[in-house]
Each structure stands twice: as C-alpha cells, then as structure tokens.
Subunit: 342 residues, 3 copies
C-alpha cells in the first residue's frame, strides 16, 4: 500500500513522499526499509535520526526527513495501520465435520465452528462468529455476532456473550463460584451456583482467565473492558465499562469495579467492595476496602499512591531510623542525668 | 414448593403462613415476589423491612412480618433450599458416541462420558460420575463415585480421585512437578516426576487450578478441602481436611498445610513448610516459615495478624516519623550546644 | 538393577556391596528395603542412621554402613537414577484415528499424535515428538524433535518450539498479547498482535502457563529455561538461558529477563525493564525498575535483599518506634521547659 492511501484510510495528514510503498510494520528500532513504524512516546524521539523505516506515524511537532503521517494519537493510528497492512484472516465459514453441534443449536450466517468443538442444546451463535477447535459451549449459551473464541475456551450453561467479544485460548467462563456454607462440625457444603455470567459487547478476555458464574443473579463484565491472562473474577462481581485488568489480577466475590478503572498486574481486590470509576491500582496492590473514584492506590493494605511512594522510600531506612531513635534516647538520658531530673 | 414442605425438608421451624408458594431464590435486595431469600449477616437486617421476597430463612431473634424459616445456620439452610428449588440436572447416563474410551477402561453404572472425552488404558470411573466433554484421563486414572469433572479437565497418569469430588473446567491434576537438578555448568536437568496425586472425598477443585504430581510418593488433598480457581499446588504438597484455599493461592513443593486452614486470595506458601491446623492467612500474605496451629498471619514476611495491622497503620506515617526524628535530633543538638557538652 | 551397574551408568564411585539389587526410588525417610535413596542436603544427614533404603547416593565425606554411590552432585545423580529405574514410557508412534491432521502438515518419523489432536495447515512436527490428546496446533506452527506436549496444550499460529521442549497440560503458547490503543473517548481498540513466540531448545513450560505472542517481532524463551505452572509472560518479553521462573510469576510486556535468573513464586516484573543475568528475586517480589546483574532483590518495590531483610525485621516494631519517638518528644519538651528556651 502506498503511504497516500494509508493517510486517507487513517485520516492522517501526509508529509513528504506519498508514493512510498509500505509493506510491513515494525518498532522504530527494528524497522527495515519497506516498513511503517511509529513514534508515540517522546522518550524514543532520538531514534528518528537512525530508524531505517520507510515511513512513520508520529505526533505533530517532530522534525523528520521520513515520509510521515501526522496523528494526534499515533499509537491508535499505528494500530489501525497494522490492521490494514497485516490483515488477520478469518477462518472459513462453515461447521467442521468433526464438530458436535446439538440439533437444537442455532447458528447465524457465516459462522465458523472448528474441529472437535462441542455446542450443547439450545446454544445460539451470532453471525460471523468464529469458534476455534475444541471450544465447548454448554447448553443454552448465547454468543453474539463477530466474536472470536479461541481453542480450548469453555463456556458454561446459560452464559451470554455480546457482540465483538474476543476470548483467548483456554479461558473459562461460568465455572461455579466458590461458595460453601460451613456446618457446626466445620465441614463445607456447596452452595449451588445457579446464577450466570454476562459479557457485554467489545470485551476481550485473556488466555486462561476464569470468570465465575454468580451464586444467584449474574456476574457481569461491562462493554469495552479488557481482561489480560490468568485473571480471576469471583462470583457476582460486576466490572464497569472500558476498564483494564492486567495479568493475574484477582477480584473476590460480589465486588463492584467501576468504569475506566485500571488494575495493574497481580492486584487483588477483596470481596464485597466498591472500586469507584477511574481508580488506578499499581501492580501487586492489595485492596481490602472500598476505594473512592479517581483515586490512585498502591501497597497492601492499599493507600493513596503518593503517600505509599513516600513511605516506601523510608522503608529501607527503617534500621537506620531505629538506630537514630536509640541514639536520641541515649543522648537525652545522659543529658538528663547531667542536668538532673527526668 | 410451599414453605411448609421446605421447612420439613430443611428441619427448620416455620413462622407465619406455611402455604405461601416459593418458586425462586434470590438475595435479600434482589428478591421478587415468589422468591425465598435469607438473612445471615445481621449487617443486612435493615433490608427485612423492604425486601419483596415471599419468604425468608433467618436466625432466631429477628422480627419480620414475612413467612419465615428459623435456622441457627441460615446460610447453610438457604444453600440446601437452593438445591431443592433449583435442582441442577445431571447429564444423562451413557458414553457419547464421540468419546474415546480405551477397551481396558472400566466404568461403573450410570456414568456419563461426554463428547470427545478421552479415557486411557485401565482407567476406572465410579458409579454416577459425570465426565463432561473434552475431559482427558491418562492411563490408570481412578475416579470415585458421584464425581463431576467439567469440560477441559486433564488428569494425568495414575492419579486418584475419591468420591463426590467436583473439578471445575480446565483444571489440571497430576502434571509434572517442577523439579530440576543443576549441573556444574548451571544447566538444569529434569528430575523425573514419578509420583502421583491423591484427591480425597468431597474435595472441590476450581477452574484452571494446577495440582502437580509428586516427584516420589504423592501429592495429597484431604477430605472436604475446597480449592478456588487458578490455585497452584506444588509437588509432594499435603493439604489436610476441610481446608479452604482461595483464588490464586500458591503452595510450593513439599509443604504441609493442616486441616481447617484458610488461605485467602493470592497467598503464597514457600516450600518445605508446615502450616498448622486452623491457621488463617489474610489475602496476599507471603509465608516463608512454618506457622503454628490456630495462628492468624498477614503480610510478607508473614507475622501475627494483629501486629501486622498495627505496623501497617504506622507505615503511611513513616515520612512524618522520619521528620520527627530529624527534628528531635536538631532540637537536642541545639539544646546540647546551649547547655554545653554532648 | 544391581548397584554396580548403576554406579557405572552414573559414573559414581561405588562403596560397599555392589551386588545389592535396587528396584525402587524414594526419599530418605520414606524408603523401604529395595529402594535407592539420596542425601543432598547435610541437614538430613541424621537420617543416614535410620533409613531403611538398600542403597544411597551421597556426597563425599559421609559415613554410612549402606552400600553407596558417591557423587559430587547427589541430587543430579539421583535424578538420573530415577530415570533409569523408573523409565517413563513414550506413547506409541503413529497418528490416532481421531486426530485431525491437515493434509499439508508434515510429521517427522516416530511422531505420536494422540486422540482428538488438531494440527492445522502447514504444521511441522519433528522426529519422536509426542502430541498428547487434545493438543491444538494452529496453522504454520513448528515443533522440533523429541518434544512432549501434554493434553490440552494450545499453540497459536506461526509459533515455533525447538528440540526437547516439554509443555505441561493446558499451557497456551502464542495467545494475543494485551495491547490496546485508547481513543479520545477513553475506549480501547485492539492493537493487532501479529508477532510470534519462539521457544528455544530444552525449555520446560508448566501447566496452565500463558506465553503471549509479540505485537510485532517475537516473544522468546531461551535455551534450557524452566517455567513453572500458571506463569504469565507478556508480549515481546525475552527470557535468557537456564533461567527459572517459579509458579505464578508474571512478566509484563517487553521486559527482558537475563540468563541464570531465578524468580521465585508469585514474583511480578513490570513492563519494559531489563533484569540482568544471575538476578535472584525472592517470593512475591514486585519489580518496578530494571535490576543489575547478580543482584538479589526482595519486597515491593524491590530492594536489595539484605536491606529488605533488615527493614522487614524492624517493620513489626513500628508501633513501638512511634511510641518511643512520642516519648522522646515529650521528655525533650519537658526538659526544654525546665531549662528554658526551645
């Protein structure tokens, strides 16, 4: 594709030679002639002088001899360019001969059902959705349009996925929540998990992530929210819209996570809490109490991020601080002895 | 079902109209007419005045105009009521045409083997056990009676599960433990993991949980113990009875976890430790040393919970504490200068 | 096998009766007559007097009446002995009738393809590699020689595995990295993940571990590196050689982990960092910044291990330290009042 055509399709201003041909995509350091690259973080601007790319997407205000596309959001424009230059094929429409589709299941047009997939009674799958090999949908599952479920995904009975939902390999949606009632002898008895899971439109779910069904009612993941790999969502949790949960995050049962929240890697949220809209928790934060909207929190137990940064900076000095207190005590004691009294 | 019948089946005292019909189950805030609900935590007692439920299970000593069942353990009684009002169907007995069952495998009566399941040589499956689609049992696996293994579960060679064991989707039982011997050049050589895993009766194992086989001997999960999702159990670990391991807990090789232990979410236990009976570890606790029975621990490295709570409360004040020490030093210095001496 | 033969095959010096027959292998406390055991950690040397084993592998300098093999690396020698005494069968060569192998796939000699495995277009599998039931290889995957992929493993399009790679059950190699570009309205748009994953020779990958494909370029795991269960490797991460990542470790996107690194259980590494060769991070360490080679780090944020140990020892005393500072302030105040001035 020539750069001029890309400029038009991305809605970016073109600078320099619009006839240059771009065939590949690469990071600014790895790019070779023929590649399109991008500059999003000004920290990398010094690579402008040395990159071997044939063209670049960059924000306004940078000088470069390279043919360029100017974008206020170069990372988003580059993401779209990658989609245009490296289109990812859809698997062909049709049901593989070895798939096991219950006669009562209903499939929309142009659905792909891969080898060994199993679709239970009354399953519904929307138009153009791709179910890769070894996907298992229990009875009464509903999947919307234009979804992609990768191989090994398991969706349990009655769970519902919206449109354009992407589920990476091996994720489990709708396993029983972890609910047990303890008797007088200290033995646990299963609380039947009769609720369900609802995944709204445009959600992405990472590999080997588990989203448990509710005990009663539903577990819900809001529109546009993105979950990374190995995330654990407990029963009856509700997650808002456009929220990001990074790898290995865990959210215990019945907690509510707001919209536009970011939980970084390995963050844990206890049960029955409310995490407000726009909250950010840095990596490994442990959240035992509800958090007000738009707060940045860190540490365990989580406190306001700036307070945590300051306290964490003092932490390695604790042995020295202890010594100084001991020395103060000694000196004060000796002074008191000298001046008499105490 | 009318409330009088439910009272009889649960062994609860009935108060009010026993002829009221209950059809559904719901939480106290979400319940609608026709629903049975419950009150376990007195914190929610104020909802008694406003719930729309038709009947309620609650502990002695609460006033309500609703038809009620009185129980000393309302949560357990409600769990049983859910089982009665929302019975979960068993899949039909029989072996699906697409299941691959080795001729040497032995299946008890009324077993369900789902589509695409694979049962290796000499596998034994007890009566009424359900193996959902895509379950894989390697050779010589033994599964007891009345078990449920959900889709995507993998059980490796020679592992044994007792009776009434429930395994949620995608869990892996008996993968090789993480054992390597390092040579003089710093390269790692696999220590063959020739042991096995034993899961005792009434255990539940969460989705995408991994329980490794022992290097030698066995890894063992005790009767009635419940493991949540994404839990990691290292080789040769032993877990006692009626213990609860919450989501994303990790236990390193050869550690022993006692009975009636509770490890909250994301807790980590190092290898070769003994965690006594009745220990509780709060979320994200890291345990590098053995813990005495009936201790409550927190933090990393884990310390007694009350000490940790008090120290954690001081942590955010560290910068202030540092300032106060500096100020004390300054004032003492100036005083010493004034009175002469040091 | 008689001990003399074992001595020859392991290259160990024999002490005592070389005709003793060893049939089994066991730990020093569990061993029975007929078993071979080992002593690696001197902490267990007192068991030499009581073990019931018929023979033992141990380091020079220990006295025992037992027939023994002397080794400078008893654990490594014992690992090899286990491999000889308890050889693990390879599954038979051949493609199971229910496997789905695309006609364009190429299989080397003596490959095993288990029941229900799915091999996509243009897949290549090297000699003697075993693909257990339900393995899924997307199109253009390349697997080397003498590999073992256990049941439920998913390998995505174009990923490449070297020789002698072992992948435990349910692991996912090559799922999409977690890359999204945010637009002005705060919505996330997928950055197409068009890169791949390369696994070098002699790597072992644990059960339910996820290694994401790169956005552009490749994610790479170096020769001889061992990953435990439930590990998360983000897109474009590079891991060096002979490195060990323990259970539930998470490495965020684009970070580089050196060679001979050890990350203990539940360690988290933020994105875009460089972790030098020979670094050790103790369990649950959170690493927000790059780490110099051969450093031992602990805590969150990670600091040098010895400093962390000392500071952690003071942490429980924080309430007392706070009291002492308050007392110092009170006494200094009263002294100042007495001597006049401030």
């Amino acid at each position: 594709m020539i750069l001029r055509e890309l400029a038009e399709r991305l809605g970016c201003a073109l600078r320099g030679d619009g006839d240059v041909e771009v065939r590949g995509v690469a990071g600014i350091e790895e790019a070779l002639p023929g590649d399109l690259t991008f500059l999003a973080n000004p920290r990398y601007a010094h690579h402008l002088a040395t990159t071997r790319a044939s063209a670049i997407i960059l924000p306004p205000g940078h000088e470069t001899p390279l043919p360029s596309l100017v974008s206020d959001n170069p990372y988003l424009s580059f993401a779209r360019a990658v989609g245009l230059l490296r289109p990812q094929g859809r698997p062909p429409s049709g049901v593989h001969a070895t798939a096991e589709v219950d006669p009562s299941a209903r499939l929309g047009p142009d659905v792909h059902v891969g080898a060994r997939a199993v679709l239970g009674p009354r399953v519904r799958v929307g138009a153009r959705t791709a179910l890769h090999p070894h996907v298992v949908l229990y009875e009464d599952v509903e999947i919307g349009e234009d979804c992609v479920l990768h191989s090994g995904v398991q969706v349990r009975e009655r769970c519902r996925l919206g449109n354009r939902v992407v589920v990476q390999n091996g994720a489990v949606i709708g396993a029983d929540g972890f609910g047990f009632a303890r008797d007088a002898e200290g033995r646990y008895h299963k609380f039947p998990q009769v609720g369900t899971v609802v995944i709204e439109d445009d959600v992405e779910i990472g590999a080997l992530t588990a989203i448990d069904r509710a005990a009663l009612g539903e577990t819900r993941i809001g529109r546009g929210t993105k979950l990374d790999n190995l995330v654990q969502i407990g029963h009856s949790v509700r997650v808002g819209e456009d929220t990001v949960l990074a790898g290995q995050v865990g959210v215990a049962g019945s907690s509510q996570i707001g919209s536009r929240v970011t939980l970084a890697g390995q963050v844990g949220v206890a049960g029955h809490l409310t995490i407000g809209d726009g909250v950010v928790a840095t990596a490994q934060t442990g959240i035992p109490n509800s958090v007000d909207p738009c707060t940045v929190v860190s540490g365990y137990p989580a406190i306001e991020n700036r307070a945590w940064l300051k306290a964490s900076a003092v932490f390695p000095k604790l042995p020295e601080l202890q010594r100084r207190v001991r020395e103060l005590e000694r000196r004060l004691e000796s002074l008191l002895e000298r001046v008499g009294g105490g």
